[in-house]
Symmetry: C2
Subunit: 690 residues, 2 copies
């Protein structure tokens, strides 16, 4: 048994390190590509500048935040469980935040640098261009996932075998790592979400509306902030969010595994994640080999090949895990159910937001009947879109629970491992997602760089594929968060010492109140984030106006605007606005526990999952439908650009922007943070209270 554990820990570390290494080689490979004409390089340089400015400010604030929270965690653990565990917890926390931040920052720089090289490669054909864009995205996908797996494995391995701690102590320390990664996710996802929409709205408002200069015009001081925004939200934000879920699902499953027998159960989440990452590595190169006509087909086949290989390895790993009797089936089947549910949720999301489907087209048609009708239809379709995803989550939950139960495994472990299954191929998903903004920016650079018609066709094809993968990723991320938070919920009940048999009785006032308060949080946080975008945009608008007023010759194109200052104002404002919602997400769970007790906190987490998923899905999909309805009209439908329908669709798109890029995607992270805050602080408080 000891053997399995050691091997598992090592396998995770080895595969994780391998992924990081490959990510590094891919980065070098991308860098070696032709960086295009000097004009293209100049544009790309500004974007990279902006990205660095953003990252610098974000990381400084993040480390200030860590500087406060890490000692708190360390001292709390030290007081209750001894100095060793205190130091370990604080270190794990810092390591979690540090590793993800490093990987996300490098991934974002890689993506930003891959933009211009993709545009340049497009001059040579589709395959080279696709390869650069895809590898540019894969730097992020493989790097951040590899770093996460390496971190968890090492922490567990060192605590368990190096220091000889119990399984519970080792997984508890891994929880610190997870909490650290979630700190980055909060900053990158919610802060980045506020940032990107601040830049977008203010650039449009002053540039397009007040001064009548075109979109992406280099005279606009906010244009770089806007370009950077896409990378912040879709590369760093989404990557950090998914990795946050990834780590949390593994740690939650390990905690539940330690609870339901330990040994192989504890280490299987790591092993399964390791073979998942291995499959993703394999899939990345399959895609590269296969791409010919349509990049979409190659990417879909890559995902299929990755899933196929993963299934094979999953079978081997579970069958050979040394579990008794048919227990391996109680691990294998829930993992499978999770993976299947993730794919289904991702694909159905696409149905509600794809430009080729009825909901988006009807929303576009509604725009021709008036702005309000367009808003109402997009809103309604967003609400309807929650149905398939919620049914998918329900089926996965049911299957995971029952399969585990039938084959003699703890059903909570079944839920936990199905979340691990859903997230097992997350490196492929993040790579595909980061591919989106790379292609998007490559298209922009190619256009501004004045590259010819054939090149534009190629980058257009890449861009279209990028939009699809971004949409699929969004649905997938929300589904993954749902299952992960369910696993965290189960892990919390264990850590808080809630008796499974007596359970959390819905027929008690504290549980009912906990549910109400929990359900209240996601809508409240959504509203706060949207209001934050509004306030931050006002600050930014003042700065843009000031530059046009005070920099002589700016509007005439004879002077350069101060891009960096705009980036900095948007970034600082976004991070400042984050303070209140973040504090709520950490403080309210603790308050609920102190006032109403541990069952109420469990219900609180449950309530926040319910409305969190609903609001995240609805906001993401309404926003997507409005966005694509506008694009559909811009492609010529219902009067095309400049028509009344187009004006209505633009309003819908602007309403949808903070829905789909700020509030909606931040909710995943927010509910994960609430659950992790509960898990980190409640056991400590329980110890303090004796």
């Amino acid at each position: 048994m000891e053997n399995v554990l050691i091997q598992g820990g090592l396998a995770g570390a080895v595969v994780g390190a391998l992924a990081v290494l490959i990510s590094f080689f891919l980065y070098r490979h991308v860098m070696r590509q032709d960086p295009g004409t000097s004009k293209m390089q100049a544009i790309a340089h500004f974007i990279e500048e902006g990205a660095r400015a953003y990252l610098f400010r974000q990381n400084v604030t993040l480390f200030l935040f860590l500087g406060v929270l890490a000692p708190v965690i360390g001292v709390l653990f030290a007081v209750t469980s001894g100095a060793g565990r205190g130091v370990a917890a604080a270190l794990a926390y810092l390591l979690g935040a540090g590793c993800s931040t490093a990987a996300a920052s490098l991934g974002m720089i890689a993506a930003v640098r891959a933009n211009v090289r993709t545009a340049a490669a497009a001059q040579k054909g589709l395959k080279p261009a696709f390869t650069v864009a895809y590898f540019g995205g894969a730097v992020m996908g493989l790097g951040i996932v590899g770093m996460a797996l390496l971190g968890i494995s090492l922490i567990y391995y060192i605590c368990r075998f190096g220091l000889g701690w119990t399984e519970g102590e080792a997984t508890g320390t891994a929880l610190g790592f997870s909490f650290g990664a979630s700190a980055l996710a909060l900053f990158a996802k919610a802060g980045g979400g506020i940032y990107t929409k601040t830049a977008d709205i203010s650039a449009d408002l002053v540039g397009k509306v007040e001064l009548g200069i075109p979109e992406d015009d280099p005279r606009n001081p906010a244009v770089i902030a806007d370009n950077v925004g896409d990378n912040v939200g879709d590369v760093a934000g989404m990557g950090a969010d998914l990795v946050d879920s990834y780590i949390a699902s593994i740690v939650a499953a390990m905690i539940l595994g330690a609870e339901s027998g330990g040994g192989a159960f504890t280490i299987l989440p790591v092993l399964i994640s390791a073979v998942g990452l291995l499959s993703s590595l394999f899939g990345t190169f399959i895609v590269r080999v296969l791409v010919r006509g349509k990049p979409g087909a190659a990417m879909n086949f890559g995902t299929l090949a990755t899933s196929g290989l993963f299934l094979l390895l999953l079978f081997v790993v579970t069958y050979k895990s040394g579990l008794s009797g048919q227990q391996w089936l109680g691990v294998f089947l829930p993992t499978l159910a999770g993976l299947a549910a993730g794919l289904v949720i991702g694909l159905t999301t696409d149905c509600f937001t794809s430009i080729d489907r009825a909901p988006t087209r009807r929303t576009a048609e509604a725009a021709s009947r008036g702005t309000a009708i367009n808003i109402l239809l997009g809103f309604s379709y967003g609400l309807v879109s929650i149905v398939p995803s919620i049914l998918g989550i329900c089926v996965a939950t049911y299957a995971a629970w029952r399969f585990a139960e039938i084959f003699g495994v703890s059903p909570f472990y079944g839920i936990g491992i199905s979340a691990v299954g859903m997230l097992s191929i997350v490196a492929t998903i993040i790579s595909g997602d980061a591919f989106g903004p790379v292609s998007d920016n490559a298209r922009g650079i190619a256009e501004q760089g004045g590259l010819g018609g054939e090149v534009m066709e190629i980058v257009d094809a890449l861009d279209a594929q990028g939009n699809t993968s971004k949409a699929i990723t969004k649905g997938f991320a929300i589904g993954a968060a749902a299952l992960t938070v369910l696993a965290l919920f189960a892990a919390y009940t264990h850590l808080a010492g809630i008796d499974i048999m007596r359970g959390i009785n819905l027929m008690s006032h504290t549980v009912i109140i906990g549910l109400f308060l929990g359900a209240m949080m996601p809508p409240l946080l959504s509203a706060l984030l949207i209001l934050a975008v509004g306030r931050n945009a006002e600050r930014m608008i003042d700065e843009i106006r000031r530059q046009f007023r005070e920099i002589p010759g700016l509007l005439a194109g004879q002077a350069n605007p101060d891009y960096r200052r705009c980036v900095d104002i948007a970034t600082r404002g976004a991070l400042r606005e984050l303070l209140f919602p973040c504090s709520l997400a950490i403080v309210v769970p603790v308050l609920v526990f102190l006032v109403l007790g541990k069952e109420a906190l469990a219900a609180f987490l449950g309530g926040s999952i319910l409305t969190g998923i609903i609001f995240a899905l609805f906001m993401a999909n309404s926003g997507g439908a409005w966005d694509n309805a506008k694009k559909y009209i811009e492609n010529g439908a219902f009067g095309g650009k400049g028509s009344e329908a187009h004006k209505a669709a633009v309003v819908g798109d602007t309403v949808g922007d903070p829905f789909k890029d700020t509030a909606g995607p931040s909710l995943n992270t927010m509910i994960t943070v609430m659950s992790l805050a509960a898990e980190v602080f409640v056991p400590i408080i329980l110890l303090v209270l004796g």
Copy 2:
């Protein structure tokens, strides 16, 4: 003990009958007032015509619906519990629907007829005008509440003492009465909600936008349908909804009372409601005596006086109820908590939607910065507005539970009786609410009838007060629905035979899935209702265009449009659109029970309460904020009528219309219907399954 029961049943019947009688006298009193000039009468006649046409179609459809469902209920009960109970259940069901329908229809006719008389009375001064409008509303308030109390009391009295049935059998039959009343509520609230917005949107779109004729122009074939709509939604719909909650809360508390000892516990809900109604009767006349300068002050004082008298009587009733020891406090205090929470929730709602407060004014200011910003701000404030209401519900739940527990009463009964407490003075609330559209229409008639400046001032003052009472009622209705559905939830767990000690364990897959599915329903139903308005409006628009095309001289004002046909098309369409959402509300709970079991259904109901309350509050308050932001601009702020800000605010208002008048308010009814469907069908299915 027997004595208390008989007296209680009789007291309910007597007070109920008294209220119906007084309602009848008020109606006669209103009718005797001066109906104004012939021009005013002509306008009023059309509105009355339209209201009758609407009521005719609604009631025909409703009775077809009852014709199908009543035999089903009768047969199911007959098969499982004997022919006698089958007949009783079917009759109670029909009686519940019939009584509420009769009262709602009469109340609506009274309100429609009070309009013109209020306008006429305004020529004599504020006090006479206010009296007519207030009494016109009170016909509805006292009539429908009296009818409800009379019905419950008689059914209970006859079953328990006439037929000698057990308490459980008698309250079970009363449940049929409640289910019947909820059938009307569904039709009047959700169907009426679709109807009113269909008429509003299509009248505006063809009239104002396409043809450029003013609002409320008599040439517009949809103008009467639009005027009728206000009465349908705010008089009949809101009255039916509140009475639905009222009856359901009384019956749920009786069921829980029968469970927790019976005797006085069972009959106290009726007794408390009786003294509540008595206090409302008293309050109605106090208001009339007191009104001088400000109608608002008189109405507020009336509510206070009603509440004060109710408290006194409540003390007497509970103290003398013959409960042992301090148990009376375990009834008295939860009732008090419910009443206080209702008032607080109603008042805070006002803060988020009142034209004098920051949220509305900021939304208006946002309109000056663009349509999308206006939409985003109203949306965000709507989401924030759920916080005080949810905290109010939580505090009431906590207080009710703990007070009951401390003084030796079943805590579930505490929840049930606090819902009864909140709804005890509902007659006053409904009267105030119906006063709203009466004043609104009186204002319209006075304007169209060309009455002078002083008269306009008076009707304006009445109208402003009417808007405030409507807003307070909306918040109150949602709070009341929340507590009522919590009581129904508790009653369901009892009827389904769920063990209170083992309870409904949140740590089980079926319960988690039930919560997810339940939470999914309100957003889904909201979307379906909004989409229904869109489809129905298309039909109506076709008809309006047809009339302008085919009736010669219509646009020139030389021919009359066919108002009735427009009313009929909007009505039929609305009722047809209702079929699918209604079926979902009845069928899905039954399906959840059959597939996942009774605990899952309990969780389903719980989940539907959570998101039901959130969506109902958010939609009602966002809609209210947009509406009043528009009015604020029309009053001259940010450029006034015709400015860009005004155009943006009009879009916000149109988006808000189906939010606040269709989807939002229908959710109360929908979640009540789901709970009642569970309670009516599950015990039967359990019996059939043995």
